[in-house]
Amino acid sequence: MGTLGSKIQQVLNEPGCATNQAKSNPERKKGCNRLLAPGAAAGGCAFDGAKIALQPITDVAHLIHGPIGCEGHSWDNRGAKSSGPQLYRTSFTTSINEQDIIFGGEKHLYKAIKEIVEKHNPPAVFVYQTCVPAMIGDDIEAVCKAAQKKFGKPIIPINVPGFVGSKNLGNKLAGEALLDYVIGTEEPEFTTPYDINIIGEYNLSGELWQVKPLLDELGIRILATISGDAKYHEVARSHRARAAMMVCSKAMINVARKMEERYGIPFFEGSFYGIGDMSDALRTISQLLVDRGANAELLARTEAVIQREETRARERIAPFKTRLAGKRVLLFTGGVKSWSVVAALQEAGLIVTGTSVKKSTPDDKARIKELVKEDAHMFDDLRPREMYAMLKEARADIMLSGGRTQFVALKAKMPWLDINQERHHAYAGYVGMVALINEIDKALSNPIWDQIRRSAPWEKAALHLHIA
């Protein structure tokens, strides 16, 4: 565990992290691992975070070494889409029992790897450590090393027992495993000056495919996405990209920064959500590529595509404006950057009355403030009870949030739209923003709202009687 301990320290002291940079020295030393409050905690563990970050790699067998509680409730439940292999949706777990705990689970793990290799022959097996085998001292690194030697293929240890910290820490530790064992271990067949990596994009609901056609059109090749719709070999060869975009900053910043350090791949932090952000992303990708030797004509072509797509998106959003103008939105986002969605909503005439800034950096907060002026409240932490009160008192017309808070809105009989990672609709790029506006319109204009808010006739009668 010594190595895991130092790894965690290193990840928590990420110099690329804006929040971390803004801290004083002693504060930084403490790291950013918020202590979890027993009885008042929400969210997943480090193992959960690692699985979220890596499972989108589609042709790998993901093997969870732990009791059934770690994998049995949560497999095949995220919307990361694949353009080909489906192996990532098959669940593999050692599901260790009392015998393993008494005698050690290493042999069990080794045999499980053997069964997977014999049955499925995947390009690699990722082995995830969990709390119970970590406590009894199962050395998954050693087992993976032995298995790799025996089976002649990468068997990658992902050392992320849940109790080391939060989901976010797990994202980062997963990134470390890729840096240590995968990235740079193979060479691409050929490279071009137009090769990029997209880091921290998981292709949930197929969102990568809302963006990829535009990159294809510009002749920009995605060498690897880490990790949405990725194949093992693509990630292993990703160190030859010319530039990188980091999509979900908090999750994989260590990967982007270390790839810059090790392989000289410049990166920028961007977002595919919102028209302006999407255009900025395309612009910056092209600029970075040109800076690194791509033909400068790429910039003009990019501007042409941006202009065409922006015009098209605005044309498609315009008809919604009369319907949506003045409608008030409560916006609680997790992974999606608040300000980029705020801008898109304003495009359609919606008013953001409140937004969460819990996960935002001071810089993000400043941008939101600039966008929403005085209209909106910025909440650091809004308890469900308060959210419910806001909705019940109709201080908003619709709530956009993650699945965790959906019933707060629905039980208050208020429209709600899922904009978190479990959502079923894709909202990336220009087409995605139009889709988002369309979904908001569908939610707001559904005829159920008037019906369900009407009291039952006998309740009205009772009220009259009471007054009389």
Partner: protein
């Protein structure tokens, strides 16, 4: 008599089984104003919570002691104490049910001892009932955790009656984990039609039936009250549903002297005849007209449906008690149970109408299910169903890709009748239409295809 076989694979592929602590947490959610608490790392809770949210489409109260690496090794007393104090202050529940997990079990945390010490120094917890249950996730399964939680609630909360005086209309019902909120509503109607007053422990029909509460509440929206649990000793009978509840029923009998009757299942004509007969006997009320009509309707549905069930080969994967419900019922409708996969040991396994019951996973189901007409399991069977091209009937938990999981009813004459329609319609929708080649002998049938490919 079925042979019970344990899968010899070292790798569990596409798990069927879920963990004990999460099963126990669900049982605790059948108590009003409750907060289940898992003593483990926060992932233990978060995975279970997401599972239930997706299944019931409801907000799920569930908390964690958030064990860190250090606390896991040094002991989690402080975490349990802090969690209880925080929950009491933030959500003000009447009841907290605390489940151990693999981590706290390995460390050997003495949860029951912890609670005694914590109570002594925290008077603010005096008004909150606390029940702990041992549910390591490295052994047993969901239904074991559910049953253990119910047994512990009986041991800790039911008052030992002072006298043998009983309320002649009051009955206790101990439903297994496979009994849905919809089932409980149906059963309540049945019992009340016999002028009985049923009390369900636990009662998910109050908390997870999907309804609109008047006010926001961070704990369960309903369920059996603590007062009702305390007074369970005043009932005249206990009805346990599912073999998993035998232990809880015996515990209750020892504590209160109330006799129990266990119904292994309440699906199918014979099973419900038995229930009706028993209810009529203990209540002295003749079987109401409503149920005579429903019985007749069920018989008619069996007549209409048997054409489509007869000879169909079915592969089922479910927890033991749910497996018992569906394998016996489908067997009674003329199906052949070709494959039966389950999660944990149970005395009911040997009586299944099948040659062999495998303790295994959904890969075991998929490997054996080729050539069957229907898969019956939870939503995770969808990949196998797609690969095999066999329709899937979703039962149990989780059902995350269909609406109304909490209201799926399989008990009673009416529930069985509707089940015939639902499953029968699946068979009807998947009839293999005949082609000119259907009745050709095998060699002849394959020849034109081969020659086409050659050309």
């Amino acid at each position: 008599m079925a042979k019970v076989v344990v899968s010899q694979e070292h790798c569990t592929v596409n798990p069927l089984r879920m963990s004990q602590p999460v099963g126990a947490a669900l049982a605790f959610m059948g108590v009003d104003n409750a907060m289940p608490l898992l003593h483990g790392s926060q992932g233990c809770t978060s995975f279970g919570l997401v599972l239930f949210v997706r299944h019931f489409r409801e907000a799920i109260p569930m908390q964690t002691t958030a064990l860190s690496e250090v606390a896991s090794v040094m002991g989690g007393f402080d975490n349990v104490e802090q969690a209880l104090v925080n929950i009491a202050a933030r959500t003000k529940p009447a009841f907290i049910g605390i489940c151990t997990t693999g981590i706290s079990e390995i460390k050997g945390d003495d949860l029951n001892g912890f609670l005694k010490v914590i109570r002594a120094s925290h008077p603010e917890l005096d008004s909150i009932a606390l029940v702990d249950v041992s549910t390591p996730d490295f052994e047993g399964a969901f239904q074991d955790g559910w049953a253990a939680a119910v047994t512990r609630m009986i041991e800790e909360l039911v008052d030992v009656p002072f006298s043998t005086a009983r309320l002649t209309r009051r009955i206790n019902i101990l439903p297994g984990s496979h009994i849905t909120p919809g089932d409980i509503d149906e059963l309540r109607d049945i019992f009340e039609a016999f002028c009985l007053e049923p009390v369900f422990l636990p009662d998910l029909s109050g908390s997870l039936d999907g309804h609109i509460p008047a006010e926001f509440t961070p704990t369960t929206l309903g369920g059996i009250s603590l007062e009702q649990i305390r007074k369970m000793g005043s009932a005249c009978w206990t009805i346990a549903i599912g073999e998993q509840m035998r232990g809880a029923a015996i515990t209750l009998e020892h504590r209160t002297g109330i006799p129990y009757r266990l119904f292994e299942r309440l699906t199918g004509l014979a099973a419900n005849d038995e229930l009706m007969g028993f209810l009529s006997e203990i209540s002295g009320v003749p079987v109401p007209r409503k149920y005579r009509r429903q019985r007749s309707q069920l018989i008619d549905a069996m007549l209409d449906g048997h054409f489509h069930f007869g000879g169909k080969r079915v592969a089922i994967a479910a927890e033991p008690d749910l497996l018992a419900v569906f394998s016996h019922w489908l067997d009674e409708m003329g199906c052949e149970i070709q494959v039966a996969i389950t999660t944990t040991q149970s005395p009911s396994l040997e009586t299944m109408p099948v040659d062999e019951v495998v303790l295994g996973d959904l890969e075991d189901l998929e490997m054996r299910a080729a050539g069957t007409d229907l898969l019956v399991t939870h939503s995770h069977g969808r990949q196998a169903a797609a690969r095999l091209g066999i329709p899937l009937f979703r039962i149990g938990l989780p059902i995350f890709d269909r609406l109304g999981a909490g209201q799926q009813v399989s008990v009673g004459y009416r529930g069985t009748r509707d089940l015939i329609f639902e499953v029968g319609n699946l068979f009807l929708a998947n009839i293999h239409e005949p082609t000119p080649h259907t009745w050709e002998s095998r060699e002849n049938a394959s020849q034109p295809l081969v020659s086409l490919e050659v050309h």
